[in-house]
Amino acid sequence: MLFRSLADPTRRAIFERLCREGEKTVGALTARAGVSQPVVSKHLGILKQAGLVHGRHEGRQTHYSAQLSALAPLIDWTSGMTGFWQSRFDDLEDLLKRMDQ
């Protein structure tokens, strides 16, 4: 379920945006998703079913937020930290190439 829900690029982009930028309404998500509001709503429904997204009702609006804890069973978090440093090393490598002798 988790894998399937994140396999779709549009859905993954919505999820990543909620991770990065925090709570958003369907309207705010649609503005940059490149697809129509019903399509965004459908993707949010699938993410919700997978436990990756939580919807909070406020008046007529629903605010969606990412539930990172849903990913926990899938990953060893220390391997993710190693990934953080690996990508920093990649950027260090690029910088060293650019630096003068």
Partner: protein, 143 residues
Amino acid sequence: MTETSAQTRSIIVERQFPHPPERIWRALTTPHLIAEWLMKNDFEPVEGHRFAFRATPIPGWSGVTNCVVLKVEAPRLLCYSWGDGTESESGLKTVVTWRLTASGGGTLVRMEQSGFRPQDEAGYRGMSRGWPGIIERLEAATA
């Protein structure tokens, strides 16, 4: 990665670079150069100096990592504490150690971040830059 004790864990990343230790040392200790590969900072290569790394804040994390320079031995050993932005009891209290060893006409760079406790998983979740990699692996797993 190795277990350093029953309670804490370390992350170790090593890479061989075709550059002399002096050049890598400059990249590790010059603020505007550090900003190019790690984060914005007010680092100074002086033992006892307090500084901070600043990333874009995200929900649940201020983006600030408070640090203290612990050891400076140019051009081979650099050590600083790597805490969280709140310095609270629950915050991350790790130590980052860089070792540069001249080898094969270049330099072996070894980074060890030690002192992760089981409850530091929350701190890890705040490090946004780890996430794209995880998402990529999820993608690979589903391909």
